[in-house]
């Protein structure tokens, strides 16, 4: 880890890799959540497995947490360093003329997502940890679905916050996911990119990452709204 702060390019790689890792995690999380819409029993099964499997809990979970922490700490480090690279600011800076809002405001979308993570931990992870490791309860593999639904039932503010946060996650991914391929130096010479990229990122990567960045976060929003409206 010590070498990562060594050069701008190393930081870039680290940011891209940790981002891609989190993107992967997002897919897994989404898949599990989505089962709550289709089949509450499957949702319970998987949740129970995830919550009690030694590998998941003792190995994957710390890695995930480290990944998240690394990604946001590095995000702040980059922001601070980049600010220093232009100590005197422009009086007029027309960023919209040459780049997307998403690409210029990763720190904002990132902070919203980070704040959401706080809420998410408060809602699920901390209660879960307390439930499992602090207090002692009898093993109940069917509790997850009801507990989850309960969070959204009759709580339009929480549901709204979830939806709002996922819109920002979408904005974050719209730039970040495609960007990570560029950072890793993907060869993309023979294809024309979409959006703001003329040739920097391949058409495939552009299309795929854009679709992913919209579908997954909107899927999360859908799940939250689904449960909210189903339990009015």
């Amino acid at each position: 880890m010590a070498g990562i702060n060594k050069s701008t390019l190393a930081r870039k790689f680290a940011m891209a890799l940790s981002g891609l890792f989190l993107v992967l995690f997002l897919l897994q999380h989404f898949t599990i959540n989505f089962t709550s819409v289709v089949s509450p029993s499957t949702f319970n099964e998987i949740s129970h497995f995830m919550g009690n499997n030694f590998v998941v809990q003792a190995i994957l979970q710390p890695i995930l947490i480290a990944g998240v922490v690394f990604h946001f700490v590095m995000g702040f480090v980059l922001e601070i360093k980049n600010n220093k690279a232009r100590k005197i600011k422009y009086d007029k800076f027309n960023g919209a003329a040459n780049s997307t809002w998403m690409s210029r405001n990763m720190i904002i979308s990132g902070i919203v997502v980070l704040a959401f993570l706080g809420l998410h931990f408060y809602d699920f992870w901390i209660p879960e940890m307390i439930h499992k490791y602090v207090e002692s309860h009898p093993d109940d593999p069917t509790r997850y679905y009801d507990e989850t639904i309960a969070k959204f039932t009759g709580d339009p503010i929480r549901t709204g916050l979830y939806a709002f946060s996922f819109i920002f996650l979408m904005l974050h991914l719209l730039h970040g996911f495609a960007s990570s391929f560029q950072s890793l130096g993907t060869k993309n010479k023979y294809q024309e990119g979409l959006g703001g990229y003329k040739s920097g990122t391949s058409r495939f990567i552009r299309k795929f990452t854009t679709a992913y960045a919209v579908v997954i976060p909107m899927g999360f929003v859908f799940i939250a709204l689904y449960h909210y409206f189903n339990n009015l």
Binding site: S7, T8, L9, A10, R11, K12, F13, L78, K81, N82, K84, A85, R86, K87, I88, K89, Y90, D91, K92, F93, N94, G95, A97, N98, S99, T100, S103, R104, M106, H175, A178, S179, Q182, S183, L184, G185, T186, K187, N188, K189, G196, Y197, K198, S199, G200, T201
Partner: protein, 248 residues
């Protein structure tokens, strides 16, 4: 055409500097942006004031001297041009135009709109060359055929004029496009490939030392580059750097 100008004035590197407003009249659409500033300066001299200093030389878009941030964009609102090639027909009567120097910690202001871009030179010193002697006792120019596509890509990378618009446009003041263009030019040619690893490590190291920011792939540099240098070069440099780092 009548214009209102808001221009950064700064006595010297250590002075604080600030904006001054100027009105200019009689501007013709066929004039270049710098010729418009010539008019302002001529008026200033006639009034006994010091003219606005700005870098310029060839005035045909190739030397890379001119470097103005015009209404928040390097080289102004037009695409694929330098400030000297920007024509006043791109503006309308009565427009207010804000003119600032390119801003980056690695590009300190020398006076008014003149900046010090020697950081770019130092990046080049660190590895922007192929280590051959200039004796001419090399092999025949046609002894190594080069795939046209690679030769063309090397050429496109090599068309960089070192103006610094990429840094100026980047919200992070990153010099990745400039550095990667040079790295790419050589990496794409068999003559340059030999030292490619060492070159990319040295040039990136120097780039970081100069205090440029981190690239976050906003793509602003590519859009604002007067020579249209492609982001592909940055991807290539990332690859080269990764390869070089792994190889040690």
């Amino acid at each position: 055409m009548k214009l209102k100008l808001k221009i950064w004035r700064q006595e010297d590197a250590s002075a604080k500097g600030g904006f001054q407003n100027y009105d200019v009249d009689g501007i013709d659409g066929d004039m270049s942006f710098l010729e418009m500033l010539d008019v302002v300066n001529n008026d200033l001299i006639n009034e006994g004031e010091e003219p606005i200093e700005f870098d310029h030389d060839c005035r045909e878009g190739i030397c890379g001297s001119c470097s103005l941030q015009i209404n928040g964009e390097p080289h102004g609102p037009d695409r694929l041009v330098t400030t000297c090639q920007l024509h006043m027909r791109k503006f309308n009567d009565g427009d207010e135009i804000v003119i600032e120097p390119f801003r980056a910690t690695a590009f300190p202001v020398i006076k008014d709109l003149v900046i010090d871009r020697s950081s770019f030179d130092r990046i080049q010193h660190a590895g922007g060359y192929i280590s051959v002697n200039t004796s001419g006792n090399t092999q025949d120019a046609n002894s190594i055929p080069i795939e046209k596509e690679n030769a063309d890509d090397a050429f496109y990378a090599a068309t960089c004029i070192g103006c610094g618009a990429c840094v100026a446009a980047c919200k992070n003041a990153s010099a990745m496009l400039f550095t990667s263009a040079k790295v790419s030019q050589f990496a794409l040619l068999p003559q340059g490939e030999i030292e490619a690893h060492e070159r990319v490590l040295n040039m990136v190291h120097q780039m970081d030392k100069e205090g440029f920011g981190n690239c976050t792939n906003t793509g602003a540099c590519e859009i604002e580059c007067p020579k249209g240098i492609s982001l592909e070069n940055i991807a290539r440099m990332n690859r080269e750097y990764l390869g070089a780092s792994v190889a040690g």
